[in-house]
Amino acid sequence: MIQADAPTILPLELKDVSLQAGQHRLIKDVSCTLDAKDVTIIIGPNGAGKSLLLRLCHGLLTPSAGAIHWHGANGRDPSLYQAMVFQRPVMLRRSVRANIDFALSLRKVPRRLRHNLIEEALHRAGLNRFAKTPARVLSFGEQQRLALARSWALRPQILFLDEPTASIDPAATHVIEEVIMAMRKEGTKIVMCTHDLGQARRLADEVIFLHRGRILEKSGAAEFFAGPKNDLAQAFLRGELLWWHRRELTPP
């Protein structure tokens, strides 16, 4: 069981992290530091490597080169303090409640504490009335909310989200954003990728622009949206970053 007041495992530092698959370098020499507070939004075109970068940070993938370091971990297992919401929700073939219960039991949360955590998480995500429903009959959007509720129940210090509101209606998107902001308020570090620039503006404290496996820009949200320094990032914000333009746009 993770104490709520356990010292944070952050900051997270990536040092020259690369990921290679066969001939292709999918992530190229990424170095950056993520601080304990705030919301970091990763944006970039399809195939930029956003999902891969999240998986590397979360420990689901091992970098081919470079190192990932949790500076606050001090010998503790960092994976116990993290959670991730995937692009497409994965639900066990059990009830909604049992799905959260299973996650809590994996984190060794004592049985007597689980009930309240589950109720609260379901309430947050507006899923109370589905508690006993088989999770897999829920709609896509409901399942995504359940995935978020499950993460909420774990009280992670850092939460990775991979396009959690892709193909989700505006109302459900609003619920998801509210839950995310509530978690942020309780001190959870949020790292999320999205294609919804409006959402990025609403949530971001910090923006990372990823392109072809490289971080081309990392800056404060206000600064970034006022005008990124990188020309590819500028083109992306204007909606003009098209693959056939790349040659002209790439600085010499």
Partner: protein, 235 residues
């Protein structure tokens, strides 16, 4: 044609009256095959799950051998068990040849590979879907195995039923290791073979009817389980 008609009506009469000889044979068949399926499931399901989840040296060879065993003709398995259990064989001292135990052993060998292979398919598909999520939640290999077995329970039941279907319908192996001894090792399939050769079509047909009914029941259950699973499988 009248012969055939008479045989059919006698057959139904035998089934309807639960003829003593007939029910003895049916009960022994069920006893042998249910025992075999239970043992084969206890061995085969974890093997299938482990093959799906874990990468270890020799895994590929193991899978190839498993698949080869799945396609082995039952008579060959009967022959192998016969050689192992015969007086001169390595397990001859136990005197198991021509007993129901020998038949159970042969059927276990026959269906364990089938159950393991089907279980592996089920588990592999599930693991593909679950792996990242379970690793993200911080699962141990054992908890992952448990979750997969539980979540795949309906599909696994169909694997077990398929094993039962193969066991109860099989004739070659039990004939060789059981010897088809009256009141001792005579099961449905071996009696059908015998009664037909004796020209006693009524009893053979009666047993045939029961086999067909059993097969329909088993397949009905498989169908029902599949449907149940598609609806999401409640807790």
């Amino acid at each position: 044609m009248t012969d055939f008609g008479a045989a059919i009506s006698t057959a139904f009469a035998l089934v309807a009256h639960l003829d003593r000889d007939l029910s003895e044979v049916v009960l022994l068949s069920l006893k042998v095959s249910i025992s075999a399926v239970l043992i084969a499931s206890v061995i085969g399901l974890p093997i299938g799950a482990a093959l799906a989840l874990f990468r270890f040296p020799g895994r590929t060879i193991f899978i190839v051998v498993l698949n080869a065993f799945m396609g082995l003709p039952p008579v060959v398995i009967g022959l192998i068990v016969y050689l192992l259990l015969s007086r001169a064989g390595p397990f001859g001292v136990f005197g198991l040849l021509f007993t129901p135990t020998a038949m159970i052993i042969a059927q276990v060998l026959l269906i364990t590979p089938l159950i393991a292979a089907l279980a592996r398919q089920v588990m592999e598909t599930l693991w593909l879907e679950y792996e990242e999520q379970l690793r993200s939640l911080g699962t141990t290999p054992l908890r992952a195995l448990g979750a997969l077995l539980w979540d795949g329970r309906f599909s696994l039941m169909t694997a077990v039923l398929a094993g039962f279907g193969r066991a109860i319908a099989e004739v070659g192996a039990v004939m060789i290791v059981g010897g088809n001894i009256d009141h001792v090792t005579r099961v449905m399939t071996t009696s059908i073979a015998l009664e037909v050769s004796k020209g006693n079509l009524a009893l053979a047909l009666g047993l045939g009817i029961i086999l067909v009914v059993l097969s329909v029941l088993v397949n009905g259950m498989v169908y029902f389980l599949r449907g149940n699973q598609r609806q999401g499988g409640t807790l």
